[in-house]
């Protein structure tokens, strides 16, 4: 497997840090009480989202979950609109009506962010069906968790996607927990990737903490789907390094698990790869500095932005046919 070219690697690094710095900033704001909303941390899963988005074309479709910050920012939603939505402002992607669990931004391909576990997969099939019907060549990627792999919608969507050879990539971010329940307590099979075989589908399980494993796997899956060969299930092994949502207790996580998790942190690993590939500390720091500056500006913009008009509760219910 040929190595990732430097330009793409820098792209992945940039997206990864964008996700990570956004996550850090969000936790900082919550910690300081400057913001009080539901937020599902993505610490530990930054690389998976970044690699997946880096493997897509700008106009490809993405369906994600409440824990979708990674896909959303890495796919390129303008930060001001993203923060605006998370803070419930009129400037948000959804005018503050959707919120952190329901970010939608068709311009960047973020078509649905669902809060119902597993419900994104069937919808992803539909986006891909439209592409298959009208031949626009787009690929749809849907991200979901290990826990979601046990709900009916996963099964129905997998079977239907394979039956029609839809251009979909099913990305299961196996962060070892579904809310408070550990993988082994909700699933008795060794992994999720092998479930693909039961549908006649291509499936792989890869290390989501190693850029040289996850990116090639994602790029390969996207090519497979785009070329008309049908859907692919990619299970990315990773860790949820925080509680289920910001502030939620995670005392239920055993000490060994926490230790194992720390050792596998994708960020130091990625930094190491970058240095091996002759990127300098200075270059990498500059990337992060720029991201931080952009985030600070976006956050300030969102904090200063107006609230949505109260009449918004009556709008966008049905098409206004005045």
């Amino acid at each position: 497997m040929s190595e990732i070219d430097r330009e793409k690697l820098l792209d992945i690094y940039t997206r990864t840090m964008k996700v990570n710095r956004t996550d850090e900033k969000f936790r900082e704001l919550l910690m300081q009480g400057k913001v009080a909303v539901m937020y599902y941390c993505v610490r530990g899963q930054e690389l998976v989202s970044a690699a997946a988005m880096a493997a897509l074309e700008p106009d490809d479709y993405v369906v994600c979950t409440y824990r979708g910050q990674g896909e959303q920012t890495a796919k390129g939603i303008p930060m001001e609109k993203w923060w605006g939505e998370c803070l419930g402002k009129a400037t948000g992607t959804c005018k503050g009506k959707g919120g952190t669990m329901h970010i939608t931004d068709p311009e960047t391909g973020i078509m649905v962010t669902t809060g119902v576990v597993g419900s994104g997969l069937p919808i992803a099939n539909g986006l891909a069906m439209a592409s298959q019907n009208n031949g626009d060549g787009k690929v749809t990627l849907v991200s979901f968790g290990d826990g979601a792999a046990n709900i009916g919608g996963f099964h129905e969507a997998m079977n239907m996607a394979q039956l029609y050879k839809l251009p979909v990539v099913f990305l299961c971010q196996n962060n070892r927990y579904g809310e408070h329940t550990a993988f082994a307590d909700h699933t008795d099979s060794p992994n999720i990737g092998e479930r693909a075989a039961g549908y006649g589908m291509k499936g792989v399980t890869v290390d989501g903490n190693d850029v040289n494993a996850i990116y090639p796997a994602m790029a390969d899956a996207v090519d497979h789907a785009r070329s008309g060969k049908g859907p692919v299930l990619v299970e990315a092994m990773c860790y949820r390094m925080m509680g289920h949502f910001f502030g939620s207790d995670f005392s239920y996580m055993p000490a060994e698990h926490l230790a194992e998790m720390q050792a596998e942190d994708p960020l130091p690993k990625l930094r190491k790869v970058m240095l091996e590939r002759q990127f300098t500390e200075e270059e990498l720091d500059a990337v992060v500095a720029q991201i931080d500056a952009d985030i600070d500006a976006a956050v300030q913009h969102a904090l200063d932005a107006p609230l949505p008009d109260t009449n918004e509760i009556y709008k966008d219910v049905l098409e206004e046919t005045a």
């Binding site: 992607t93 009506k97 959707g98 939608t104 419900s119 919808i123 069906m129 239907m160 966008d316």
Partner: protein
């Protein structure tokens, strides 16, 4: 002009819509030519014209069916998804209610979800407890969608065309016992607007408000009572929700009495909303309380005579009307 059955009317409306717009496609169990064009034949002949991609026979996976319709709609297409029998919405309410109906609102208007969910049901066919329910009240209670049901072939053609063109989800309920009903073919490009009720019979003593199959019972009873000097106005909602309040209230203000009628079980049924709204808005014109008739509050039984006893009967309608107008 020629007569058509409701099945043909639905087929023609879908055919025309598919011819007019490449984005319109059908998906559901057994709908394609390979399976004979749907178990009720509504999609027969369409695969031959539009191909397998636009008439997709699906696995038995209602969640995936509705989910796919939602996704395709977000991408700008106009899917017509079939849920073979209405009780099966029980396995896919999440996609219909938490997604299809809410995505326009939750996205701040960015992603409307123009899908038609066709489904059939009805009491009186001997299908028993899990295949006969009318569940329109569930959808009527959900913001962001339309609930429609035709009582005749002409309306079926016109409502289906409008449903496909609507830019929001529409649950389109077909009553099994109505597929064979015949009517003058209203012709190409006929449309019945959503949200507009019909008044198939005018009257002055009482407003009988109903929809779907029971409109037939209502008209029969109205005819019989006419002879006895009781003038019944029959209102066919056609769109159950959001319904045509203007027509309903105008009728009741005129007659001063109202009776609601549906096949669905009475408690917490759509008749409750009609009655509640009528008594609030027409209080001064009402000569007596709004009455309601609905199916028996139990699962639909199998044995034929039990099933017939379960359904609202014409006798019950007559009785309620007479009690309301004070004659017997």
């Amino acid at each position: 002009m020629a007569e058509i059955t409701m099945t043909e009317a639905l087929n023609k409306a879908i055919d025309e819509a598919m011819a007019a717009d490449d984005g319109v496609f059908c998906l559901g169990e057994d709908v394609s030519a390979k399976q004979g064009g749907g178990v009720f034949k509504v999609t027969s002949g369409l695969t031959e014209k539009y191909g397998e991609h636009r008439i997709r026979a699906t696995p038995i996976s209602e969640t995936a069916i509705i989910g796919a319709a939602v996704g395709a709609a977000l991408a700008g297409q106009r899917p017509i998804a079939e849920i073979m029998l209405m009780n099966f919405v029980g396995v896919c309410m999440d996609q219909i209610v938490n997604h299809a109906a809410k995505l326009r609102f939750m996205s701040g208007g960015q992603t409307p979800c123009p899908i038609v969910i066709r489904t059939t049901t009805g009491v009186g066919v001997g299908f028993g407890g899990q295949h006969s329910d009318m569940l329109e009240a569930w959808f009527a209670h959900v913001a962001g969608m339309h609930v429609v049901t035709p009582s005749n072939a002409a309306d079926a053609r016109g409502l289906m065309r409008s449903a496909i063109e609507a830019n929001d989800p529409v649950v389109f309920i077909e009553n099994i016992l109505c597929y064979g009903l015949k009517a003058e073919d209203p012709g190409v490009d006929y449309r019945v607007p959503l949200g507009k009720a019909a008044v198939p019979k005018e009257g002055s003593d009482i407003s009988l408000i109903t929809y779907g199959r029971t409109v037939l019972d209502a008209l029969e009873v109205a005819g019989e009572l006419e002879k006895e000097g009781i003038s019944v106005e029959v209102v066919d909602l056609r769109t159950i929700a959001p319904y045509d309040e203007e027509t309903v209230l105008a009728s009741v203000r005129k007659t001063g009495r109202a009776l609601t009628l549906h096949e669905a079980v009475r408690p917490f049924g759509t008749g409750a909303e009609l009655a509640a709204n009528i008594q609030e808005k027409c209080w001064d014109s009402l000569k007596g309380p709004v009455r309601r008739i609905g199916g028996t509050f139990a699962a639909v039984p199998f044995a034929t005579h039990l099933e017939q006893a379960w359904i609202p009967t014409k006798g019950e309608i007559v009785e309620q009307i007479k009690a309301s107008v004070g004659k017997d």
